[in-house]
Symmetry: C2
Subunit: 144 residues, 2 copies
Amino acid sequence: MLSKTCEYAVRAMIYVAQNSQNGQMVNIKKIAEKIGSPELFIGKILQGLSKRGFLQSSKGRYGGFYINDNDAKHSLADIVIAVDGDKIFKGCGVGLDYCSEKKPCPIHSEYKTARNQLFNIYKSATLEQFKSLKGSELVMLKRK
Amino acid sequence: MLSKTCEYAVRAMIYVAQNSQNGQMVNIKKIAEKIGSPELFIGKILQGLSKRGFLQSSKGRYGGFYINDNDAKHSLADIVIAVDGDKIFKGCGVGLDYCSEKKPCPIHSEYKTARNQLFNIYKSATLEQFKSLKGSELVMLKRK
DNA sequence: CTTAATTCAGATAAATTTGTCTGAATTAAA
DNA sequence: TTTAATTCAGACAAATTTATCTGAATTAAG
Ligand code: SF4
Ligand code: SF4
């Protein structure tokens, strides 16, 4: 399961991607409102991702965040790993440090398959894909 | 991803199940040592599960915990849900409150499939299965 | 140039999860 | 019956995650 920080990050990135067409950008206030997160918190999160090059920011009045064509190539998995690390995609089903392929437990093989599948889902879902969902097909990114 | 509490719980339950043959029981100290958890913490966790009927306890000197044939029918999913709730098996891939089947996002359908598969894995892995793994085939339940 | 709105940086605070302490109750063995 | 080892209950503490505050730097518009 994703951390709250990571959930906010993914939802925000999707929202920003969807609202970055031709020079458009969005500010923290709007983002927080749309994804249902604390304003200052998602601010911090995006500032971090921005520093690491996952999205662009523009300071000063009328500034905000946006995602260019290159940024939009990132997958949800990229974001998840950037924020939460890869434990969710690589970790053991019962919390052991390393998957002991030598002496696998009963669930090991199946668990690994399911985990890989989960990874593939997040990995093949790019921001670009979400970007192309417009208007009525726009996903509701706010909880409840 | 499971909480630490839940990981300890699952590993402990597996260990207790594996060491509950014909009247045998194990105490907290031994369990903690074998699964690599803080002693008092796994104590608290098992006391909770015991109250809820997931395993049996015997107080006083030479007491400890054990899992009877009926308890051993429980699946890992039962334990996970008891400790962490079912969010991990039912929740949304990006942290929304409810899966909106009406307007699904691009990952919805696949995500749901993977999530269900994960559930089935934990659900079909019973303590009984682990119990039958003895001796050299015994799983290493300690981290690292 | 001034102003207002924004990102940014670093400190702080609140909430939750994880872990510990203390002592009471229980029990089997000696 | 005494003793030692255990579970149990409830309070407490530490660590981590989540969230907020404060003020500085930046920038476009007027
Ligand atoms: S064999 Fe099972 S318990 Fe061991 S690392 Fe793999 S998933 Fe985890
Ligand atoms: S459609 Fe996607 S975002 Fe919406 S609830 Fe389902 S998994 Fe979550």
